[in-house]
């Protein structure tokens, strides 16, 4: 579904990604793990069109989307939930969800979708009229994910969805990720919570200083000695 080939992205003259290639097959959950500064967020932003790569290509459903502006990429069915829960804090929950449907041309289908999204996130239904900024951290993350779902994406890019959340909420978020995937949405997930990320995904890439250091089926990576030593503290 998503094919990234030889991506190099720079901040000024500093390379952040140095030739990254990944594949995300339709229907799967793929995880990207790695330490801070490895380039995980840069990779997500490059796929979503927020950053432009200096070289390399990104293809989605067989068509090249490299360098397209982000709203056009959203329109093609790739939605990014950015790191740090970028919700519209001074708009209500409902308005946030409406903004998520901004790029859609099938306005009639958007309303039933809103109902469906609210069903999946009962907390948001309860707080539909409340300002986004008044929600707790976990609820804000759910709102950010729900808003992305409102664009009816085929591929959902989740950047650190559990960052800074309480352990119980982290469990909720991972079960939501499973549900969304079971409902047919492909997911590319960036996580620091390596154990959970490897459990929820079928395939994973390990990023180190802008390069892929390791990749393989998640189940195998869980047993990999280097992963165990570096990320799982075993």
């Amino acid at each position: 579904m998503l094919e990234v080939r030889g991506i190099e992205t720079y901040y000024g003259n500093i390379p952040a990604l140095r030739g990254i290639s990944i594949d995300v097959p339709g229907g799967s959950v793929v995880a990207i793990i790695g330490a801070n500064g490895a380039g995980k967020t840069t990779l997500m932003k490059t796929i979503a069109g927020v950053l432009r790569p200096r070289s390399g290509t990104v293809s989605f459903l067989g068509e090249e989307i490299t360098g397209l502006p982000s709203h056009k990429i959203v329109r093609r069915g790739v939605a990014l939930v950015p790191e740090g829960r970028a919700i519209l804090s001074r708009m209500t929950v409902r308005e946030n969800l409406e903004m998520g449907a901004f790029t859609r041309r099938d306005a009639k289908k958007a309303l039933p979708d809103m109902d469906r999204v609210m069903e999946r996130f009962p907390v948001l239904k309860e707080r539909a009229g409340q300002l986004g900024g008044s929600l707790s951290g976990g609820e804000q993350q759910m709102l950010a994910i729900a808003r992305a779902l409102m664009s009816a994406p085929k591929l959902l890019l989740l950047d650190e969805p559990t960052l800074g959340l309480a352990p119980l909420v982290v469990i909720d978020i991972f079960s939501i990720i499973r549900e969304i995937n079971a409902a047919g949405t492909t997911i590319l997930l960036v996580e620091q919570n390596v154990k959970q990320a490897l459990k929820v995904s079928s395939f994973a890439y390990v990023l180190e200083t802008g390069k892929i250091a390791l990749s393989g089926p998640s189940r195998e990576l869980l047993q990999e000695p280097r992963i165990k030593a570096s990320y799982l503290g075993q």
Partner: protein
């Protein structure tokens, strides 16, 4: 009809022109862009309309339309490079644009008449009176003197223009475009993650603001019949900004109220009119301390609406 005082009508007319200028900065601000270039765009609109009507005998409405569109186009040209800037940097850059434009108006004498300005611009009210006079109309039939009729005609035209402008942008703020503006103002990265083409809407808002400033400038030219570079200085730019800061920039009624209030007060207090800018400064400082969001904000409007159920807020 003795009470219909041309002087009062003239103050009211300036109030309306300023209200349109207030809306112009509101539109740009509604995407979080702080522009001090609106006096410059106003100058483009005013000079375009003035020169077209004095040198090429273009009908007034056509000149006003041309002035607005040219200012809007200039807004796109300034708006695109200005996208790289935000906050105070954008304010400084647009201020620079305004000053450059003023320098051009002063120095391009063959076109603009230099520092002297353009005089004898057809005045809307007089043109209407002459036109109606040719068809056998006399203002006395309404019980009006000629100068009363002229001032009243100008006022009514400006009132119509202001109402249409406010109605258009009120409608816009509730549309898809308005939602996009609000989202961009709140958080650009969240807006772009929601799939909003941020660049497009920021340039759109900037050029809408420029177009409105040009529109106000063109109306100004045909209401006063005289324009000079001194009308479009740094002071004017700040004055326009103050309408929004004082009145409130979160709802369109804010800058409209600010413009109306800040036009009337110095006239009402003619004796201290020389201290107008001291009053401005003082008001701004007090507002920043006690009500930083401006006089009118959405919460106030909600309260007014709730307490006045049945009567329009």
């Amino acid at each position: 009809m003795e009470w219909l005082n041309p002087y009062h009508l003239q103050v009211a007319s300036f109030m309306l022109i300023n209200a349109i200028l207030g809306v112009s900065i509101y539109v740009t601000l509604s995407t979080g862009q702080l522009s001090l270039g609106n006096a410059g765009f106003m100058g483009i609109g005013a000079y375009t309309a003035a020169l077209l009507s004095t040198q090429h005998q273009v009908p007034i409405p056509v000149g006003i339309l041309a002035g607005s569109l040219l200012a809007g186009a200039a807004g796109i040209l300034v708006g695109i490079p200005a996208l790289r800037l935000s906050g105070v940097y954008l304010a400084i850059a647009t201020l620079g644009f305004g000053e450059v434009l003023r320098a051009v108006l002063i120095n391009w004498e063959s076109l603009t008449g230099g520092a002297v300005g353009v005089a004898a611009i057809p005045q809307m009210g007089r043109v209407i009176l002459a036109w109606a006079g040719d068809r056998g109309f006399s203002p006395e039939s309404l019980g009006l003197q000629s100068n009363q009729f002229i001032s009243l005609a100008v006022f009514l035209i400006l009132l119509l223009c202001t109402i249409l402008t406010v109605a258009f942008f009120l409608r816009l703020s509730r549309s898809r475009v308005g939602r996009a503006y609000a989202a961009i103002r709140l958080d650009e990265s969240a807006a772009s993650a929601a799939g909003i083409p941020v660049t497009y809407y920021k340039v759109l808002a900037f050029s809408q603001g420029a177009l409105l400033s040009g529109f106000a400038g063109a109306l100004f030219a045909h209401a006063t019949s005289f324009v000079s570079p001194g009308d479009f200085t740094y002071h004017r730019a700040v004055e326009i900004l103050v309408f929004a800061v004082f009145g409130g920039s979160e709802h369109i009624f804010g800058p409209v109220f600010g413009a109306a209030f800040l036009t009337v007060v110095p006239e009402a207090l003619r004796s201290i009119s020389d201290y107008r800018y001291i009053l401005y400064g003082l008001l701004l400082v007090l507002m920043m301390v006690f009500r930083p969001q401006g006089v009118i904000d959405p919460a106030l409007l909600r309260r007014v609406r709730r307490s006045g159920k049945g009567t329009p807020a």
